[in-house]
Every structure is written in C-alpha cells, then in structure tokens.
Point group: none
Chain length 237, copies 2
DNA sequence: GCCATGCTTCGACGGGGCCCGAAACGTCCG
DNA sequence: CGGACGTTTCGGGCCCCGTCGAAGCATGGC
C-alpha cells in the first residue's frame, strides 16, 4: 500500500525548514524590524561568511520568505510580508517556553530586555522609552525632528543634519520584539545611540548586545528630559 | 561548559526544526484535529515505521510540542497547547498550497473547506459563518458575550462562565486559512464546538479534521438564530 | 505464568545540507 | 579604464539526521 494520503493541508514542512536553520533564523529575526538590510550586513549579523549568507538568502528568496531590492552594488533584503513576520513572532512565543535554565542566563535575558542594541540603535525597554519620551516631549513628530528636538539632540552631540543626509531612512520606527512596541531606528536612531555611548551614559557589557545605563546616564537623561534645562534658554514652543 | 551560548533571542530555530521534517509535520497536522492519537496510528498516518514515529514523537515531546498520556499499553499523543496549534495554522497560511490532484482528494478538500476543526474549534465556511451570525445577531460584541448571547449559548449547553475562567484567551478571532476571514477561537470557540458535537449537530467524519452538519444540526441552528425560539418547551427568554 | 500486542531502544546505513575559501560577476569611483 | 568593493557561484569537506529491522520493555488477556 503506497502511502495513500488523505486531504492535503498546505505543507508546512518546507517553510518550517527554511526557518529551522539557526543562521537563517538569525537573518529573519534581524529583518523582523521591518527594515531592509544589505546582504553583507546580514552575513555579519548572523556571524557567517558572505558566501554562506548569500546561499541562505537565495533559499529564503525562492521560498518566498524574503524580498530583495537591488540598489547599486548592494542588495537589500526584507521580509516578504506581514504573514512572515507573524510566523516568526508566533514561533518565538512557543520557542521561549522552556524559559531559562541557569541563573546566569536569566540575568542576561533581563539585561537584554532592559536595554540592548538592535543592530546599531537602542532597543528594549530603554529604546521604547526613549522614543516615547521624544514623542511626548514634542521633540519628534512622526519621522520629523521638531525645532525643540533639534536643540535637545544638539545638546547630546547628535549631528541631525548628517543623519538626514545618510542613505538610510532617517527616523523609522523599528518594532521591538520584546516590548512589542516601536523604538527609534534608522540613521537618527543610530546617531542618538552613538552619542549615548560616546557620552558614557550607556556602556556595552560583556553580554553581546546588552548595554547598561550608567549613573551618569541616568542623571543626564533625567536632566535632559526634565524640561528644566541645564542651560539658560527653555524652549517654549 | 564549552559553547555555552549567551542569551539568545527567542530561539525560533529549534522549534522550527521540529516542524521542518515532513514526517513530524504530518504527525502534528494529524493532531491538529484536537483528538489525542496513539503512536501506532500516527505512524500509519505519516507512512513510516513504528520505530521512526517513536523517535519523532520522542523529539516532539521534549521539544514541548506534544503531550502524552499513557493508557494501558497505548500512548496517546496530542498537541501540547493551543499555542502550538496556532503556530501550525499560521505556518500553513504562508506555505504554498499545492494544487489538488485526484478527484477523491478534491472531494476531501471541499469537505475541509466547508467545515473542519481547527485544533479544538470550528473552522472553514461553517466556522466563519458561525462567527458572522453571532456578531450579526448581537450575541457577541468584540470579544465579549452580550446578555442575549449568554442566553443563546446557554440553550446550546455552553458554560460561558467556565470558558471565561479558562487560562487561554476567551474569544479571540482565529484567522481561517481557507476563507481568509476570522472564525471563533479560544476558550469560547472550543466550548461552542464541543457543544455542537455533543448535540450531534456536527459529527466527525472519516476524513481527519472534517466535520459535517447533520440534518438535526441544520434545523437546530436555523431555529437557534431565527429569533423564533425552538419548539415546545422553550422558555421565552 | 505465558504469549500477544504496543511502543521504544539499538546499530547501521545513506543522503542532504551547512560551511568556507577562492574565483567570477557587477557596480561605483577616481 | 583600472582598482576597490559588494555579492554570487563553484567545489569540496564534514556532520547531522531520518530511516529501517531486530531486539528489548512494558502492559493486558487468558
């Protein structure tokens, strides 16, 4: 008896197989932010050679999980649609279930949930909170920096004009997978995060993507957002 | 303590790898009906030897995707929870549905499109229609059951309060991958579907996840939704 | 007790997929 | 036009994983 088989559902195995490889999973997770990333960046993020990443991207491509857009000598890849993102999120919800084994891992997990870099900008509770504060304070309106925002960012040492000229999107929202809310991405997000690290307000720790708020940073951010300016002129927009 | 990988993102790859094998995917899909099936039965359904199926089930087990309950010399496996069912459904939505080949398969496919169980609640045209009618009749408002809805469900024998206490979401929409519209899921969806089966209004058929509407069910549902209360002993609200 | 039945473990076999370095291809820039 | 850079293709090495038959444990019936 040949395996006579009953009613076909959509076969889920091939799709799952595409996600099953750790490197491809890393690539897809990196793309979860919604931004399109170049092949080289993805290779670096996933920790494999360009050749390997290229092979993976090729498979993801004709598996229909990612799209590609050619731009000059770069190829920017992004998730093929929101359904793909959904799959990844639902999968992540099941995958985290065997939660944490060692105390050490749980400490690291908490660190990452609190504050980490998402490629080159700040994510986690800290990242989401930062975006909230910028919006609430009227420093950021949609994707645009307000005059008040310009002043605030200048005090951080952020070169907003340079960020505006960058070839990537200026200030897109980047969806945070632990908080399920947006944090600040793009050129501006990277610039702000760079400034925060330069000022020593956040420092990188031993855990790969984790960053931690220093006492100096806590004070600095409080002063920055407190309305009370350290300097004289208070913006009265 | 070599290769102690540092706190990763929710690692979706291992879970995906469990689903990625065609045999395991077949097993999981078979379990999507919500019933617990014996290991031997699953082996036959998947078209592999008992030894092979056993190995797969073992991996699914400590991957946390299935539960097992021993009963005599049988071991009945079932999906570990509705989250797992969700993953499979979402995955199916992305997967390419291969075209139907044989007449027999097409008949079965039509059955499944008409009415089937989605893990433990009703899906297909019947499921979508049911949700529509509940909404249209003012029995369900968003995720909440209205007073009118309480009365209607009571007549079906559904214990709404029990469903409310369940640890899963009460009445979430579950996207139907054949209809591409929502049907009723969650604790309430399961309870209603259970009631419909208990009443004999729907019966399970030979095709794994398919259910069919009985004449009695047709009449019952018509009466239920017609505003006109059912025959004799029906206390008028 | 003893055998039948359901399921799991063991050992061995075969295939597919992941990885990289090197080289080819394309594009941008001086 | 030539050199630098990003990306893909090619070739080869390696390991993991799915598969089965046969033997080992359980359980239930008689």
């Amino acid at each position: 008896m040949a395996a006579e088989h009953v009613a076909r559902d959509a076969d889920i195995a091939p799709v799952a197989a595409l996600i099953a490889d750790p490197t491809r999973a890393a690539i897809l997770t990196a793309l979860l932010g919604g931004r399109a990333l170049a092949a080289g960046e993805l290779a670096r993020l996933a920790g494999v050679s360009a050749a390997t990443a290229s092979a993976h991207l090729s498979r993801l491509l004709d598996g229909g999980l990612v799209d590609v857009v050619r731009q000059g000598r770069h190829r920017y890849y992004r998730l093929a649609g929101h359904e793909v993102a959904e799959v990844l999120e639902v999968l992540a919800r099941v995958g985290t279930r065997p939660p944490v084994r060692s105390l050490r891992q749980s400490r690291q997990a908490r660190l990452l949930e609190e504050a980490r870099t998402c490629y080159d900008h700040l994510a986690g509770r800290a990242g989401v909170g930062l975006l909230d504060q910028l919006r609430a304070g009227g420093h950021l309106d949609g994707e645009e920096v307000t005059p008040a925002g310009e002043r605030l960012l200048a005090r951080l040492g952020v070169d907003v004009t340079a960020a505006r000229r960058a070839r990537r999107r200026f200030a897109p929202e980047c969806l945070d997978w632990t908080e399920r809310r947006a944090h600040l991405g793009g050129a501006l997000g990277a610039a702000v995060t760079g400034a925060l690290l330069d000022l020593g307000w956040y420092v990188r720790g031993p855990v790969p993507r984790a960053v931690t708020l220093t006492d100096e940073g806590r004070g600095g951010l409080a002063a920055l957002f407190s309305g009370k300016e350290l300097t004289s002129h208070t913006p009265v927009t």
